[in-house]
């Protein structure tokens, strides 16, 4: 090859360029139209060149294949029956998520410690604690509490799950009471400290007439349409039967979780049919205890969140 006279060029002269490129012996096909082969087809006189692909493109393609093979060895790649091939590096997205969760938990540990140690009433005054508690409480609420109390915390009247947004509380709406309710629950059998009360089934104690009268009395003290005559008669029944738990004027008793019967908010409904069913068959709402299922910092966060929904006292 070195002897080829065509290759040698005098050092001080450059020969005039011929119709060929100096470093290839063949004619550059694409430079002279008509010498480039075409695919052989003709569509209405239109033909198609068959230019070679650039070599760098092919080598990039080979490099991609090599990369894929190396990747498949190092990382999880091939699906098998119950899992994928694990890869030599042992990387797993599940492990990565666990690491992330641990990292966030470690970052949150100081503020959670502060929330656990602080006095409940002071959390809302500290902007950092309030922000963390509200956001954490909202997230925990969405996972744990939403199934009964609704995703908007508005409760479900048909099932007697209370509305947490309003200013009517069965067991107390100050933050300490909310915290106790969350920790121990209501009427459950798993926590000996659960809040407890029991409404008797007045269907076994009162006659249907008396039930009708006391229902009309309840409608009158709550400012709804009622039958005046029955209501007057019902006042006596009420005084004998209901005031022990619901208070002398029906204002409720938070120690017993007995609702106030004088306001516009009803746990199960304030219409005659619902009231009759309530009196006849009684109600027995149950709420689970969240300790030890949730940590103390989490329970406090939910308490702050619920307290801040608009009805907290």
């Amino acid at each position: 090859m070195a002897d080829d006279p065509e290759d040698r060029v005098p050092e001080n002269k450059v020969s005039p360029p011929e119709r060929r490129y100096p470093d290839t012996k063949a004619v550059t096909r694409k430079k002279i139209v008509g010498q480039v082969q075409n695919t052989g087809h003709t569509w209405d006189g239109i033909e198609e060149y068959d230019n070679p692909l650039p070599r760098w493109w092919v080598w990039t393609f080979y490099a991609c294949i090599v990369f894929a093979l190396v990747y498949a060895i190092l990382y999880p790649a091939w699906p098998m029956l119950t899992r994928a091939t694990p890869g030599v590096l042992g990387y797993s997205t599940r492990a990565a998520v666990q690491t992330d969760i641990r990292r966030v938990a470690d970052a949150n540990a100081p503020i959670r410690a502060r929330i656990e140690a602080a006095d409940l009433t002071t959390i809302a005054a500290d902007p950092d604690l309030l922000q963390y508690a509200t956001n954490a409480g909202a997230s925990i609420f969405r996972t744990n509490c939403r199934t009964c109390h609704g995703s908007g915390a508005a409760g479900v009247q048909a099932s007697g799950y209370p509305n947490l947004l309003d200013d009517d509380w069965l067991w107390g709406g100050d933050i300490a009471s909310i915290h106790t309710t969350l920790t121990h629950g209501i009427r459950n059998t798993t926590d000996p400290d659960a809040r407890y009360s029991e409404m008797p089934k007045f269907g076994e104690i009162l006659t249907p007439d008396e039930i009708g009268q006391v229902v009309q009395h309840v409608r009158s003290i709550s400012g709804q349409e009622h039958d005046a005559a029955l209501a007057t008669a019902g006042a006596t029944v009420f005084a004998d039967t209901c005031t022990a738990c619901h208070g002398a004027a029906g204002e409720g008793n938070r120690d017993l979780g007995a609702p106030t019967l004088t306001d516009a908010i009803w746990l199960y409904g304030g219409d005659v049919a619902s009231l009759t069913a309530t009196v006849t068959n009684a109600r027995f709402g149950v709420m689970p205890n969240w300790s030890p299922r949730l940590s103390e910092a989490d329970i406090r966060s939910v308490a702050v969140y619920v307290h801040g929904l608009g009805g907290g006292e």
Partner: protein, 508 residues
């Protein structure tokens, strides 16, 4: 136009063989893959080359210098004139500040860029490719450096073909070092648009910069070095989608770089003293007379993509017009008029071949299609400018809580909850007052605030919960929906913004 059955002129019928027939051994069978043949463009002087140098200087100058310009916005905001603050979700451009919900400005600019591309491509052909494209500009710069280090075309050819020696190593090392310096500056300038330039520069020099800055600089250095130093025209021919789009945007009135074959053919070298034939302006040249093209190969040698413009329009021609300058140079040397290769439209070619007068240039540029693009482009531009000036410096977005739509309070009143996002675009904190206007009677209270004012930090958005209560028995409490308008007022500047929303009553 020619009669349909006459066919194209003889010199354009395929296959086109301009040269003397070659021997069969010169023709090799097509290979599947072929190595890149290096292109060594020769230096050229002329008005288009000068224009390209100017555009290169201005565009590179803008690119490298802009991140260093300063603009004072007060103590709380960055002082870089052009800054894309990704973490803070802001775009700063001199006196303009764009928030993420105003991203439509970017969309508008992109639409204008698209319309602008249609406009100057339909008028002037692939001027983006040939003059302004970053690939072209940086390749041009890299070839300039190559010429400074290794010499002009002939010297570079010699160096390319000679064996490795100390001289070759030295020249290549110097060239690559210069290229690397340019590439690093290019990557660096890029990241300076996304962070405060002086701060990031000192962090880079002291090794304290965030790894992502290093990663981007490394990536852009690599791509600039490889694309400008080695890939060059391979990007234009194989990688870039624009050539294929540009060709579709051109029409028969688009000015593009073309070879006047009817004037130049048949090509051949002039012997000394040979009389040049008359130009093809209505005069028919004698059958054995030669065309103006003397096959000096200047147009091929200066071409950065290595094509022969005499073959006609082709994908690889980026219409950089260097061949025009080279050929004009040659024509001047042999005493012929310029313009053997020139900016030409297809309609011009038809007219010239027929000997008819050519349309003036401005009719190619100003025609219904280009005027329509200009009108649309300006329309979008005016709209953006108007929107920019009609913006307020404060904002309020109201999101009514819909789960539940209302809450009954113990006294029978109905309460609705709204989440407000209050935007303060000033550099310092402002006090906002919230008020309500409606046909119905409502009580308004802000969560966590004593009165009806909220303090919003500068250049920030604050979320604020708002409660609106309709008293028991009021019309709004019993009505399914009532309309109301919320006003927010900046107490310091009395700017006011409003948002209309609804109040949901108890729907029995």
């Amino acid at each position: 136009m020619e009669k349909p059955d006459a066919g194209p002129p003889p010199d354009l019928r395929p296959p086109i063989i301009w040269s003397d027939p070659l021997s069969p051994t010169d023709i090799q069978p097509t290979r599947l893959y072929a190595a890149r043949e290096p292109v060594f463009p020769r230096r050229v002087k002329g008005k288009f080359r000068t224009l390209k140098w100017w555009i290169l200087g201005v565009t590179l100058g803008i690119y490298y210098i802009t991140p260093w310009l300063r603009w004072d916005r007060g103590p709380n905001l960055p002082d870089q004139a052009v800054l894309i603050d990704l973490a803070g979700r802001r775009f700063f451009f001199f006196m303009i500040e764009i928030w993420p919900h105003e991203f439509y400005f970017v969309a508008g600019l992109l639409i204008m860029a698209g319309l602008g591309l249609f406009l100057f491509t339909s008028a002037l052909g692939r001027v983006w490719c040939g003059y302004a494209c970053p690939q072209t500009v940086w390749t041009d710069l890299f070839i300039l450096v190559e010429r400074w280090v290794e010499g002009d075309r002939n010297a570079r050819l010699r160096l390319h073909r000679q064996a490795w020696s100390l001289e070759k190593v030295r020249k290549r090392a110097l060239k690559w070092a210069a290229w690397l310096l340019i590439a690093v500056s290019t990557g660096g300038a890029w990241v300076f648009y996304f962070a405060d330039a002086p701060t990031l520069m000192s962090e880079l020099l002291t090794g304290q910069a965030h790894p992502i800055a290093w990663a981007f600089i490394a990536g852009l250095t690599a791509t600039t070095f490889v694309f400008g130093g080695f890939m060059r025209e391979q990007i234009c021919i194989y990688a870039c989608p624009w050539p294929r789009i540009q060709a579709a945007m051109m029409d028969e009135d688009t000015l593009t770089v073309a070879y006047r074959g009817w004037r130049g053919e048949p090509r051949g070298k002039l012997a000394k003293g040979e009389v040049a034939p008359a130009e093809a302006k209505g005069e028919v040249a004698p059958a054995d007379a030669k065309g103006d093209c003397i096959d000096c190969m200047a147009c091929v040698n200066v071409c950065p993509t290595g094509i022969d413009i005499r073959d006609g329009q082709q994908l690889a021609c980026i219409t950089c017009a260097l061949c025009i300058d080279a050929c004009d140079d040659t024509m001047a040397k042999i005493g012929k008029p310029r313009g053997l290769i020139d900016y030409l439209a297809l309609t011009d070619e038809v007219a010239e071949r027929a000997g008819k007068p050519v349309k003036p240039v401005w009719t190619h540029i100003l025609r219904p299609r280009t005027i329509l693009y200009t009108v649309l482009w300006s329309g979008v531009g005016v709209g953006l400018v108007a929107a920019l000036f009609l913006r307020s410096d404060i904002g309020m977005h109201v999101t009514p809580v819909r789960n539940p739509t209302f809450v009954t309070l113990s006294d029978g009143a109905i309460r609705n909850t709204y989440d407000l996002r209050l935007l303060n675009k000033h550099g310092e904190s402002r006090e906002f007052r919230i008020s309500l206007v409606s046909d119905e009677a409502f009580d308004l209270s802000l969560e966590g605030q004593q009165g009806q004012t909220v303090m919003v930090p500068g250049n920030a958005t604050t979320t604020q919960r708002l409660y609106i209560v309709a008293k028991a028995g009021s019309h709004a409490a019993a009505e399914d929906r009532s309309d109301l308008r919320l006003w927010v007022e900046d107490l310091a500047s009395t700017d006011r913004v409003h948002s209309d929303t609804i109040f949901n009553g108890k729907d029995d």
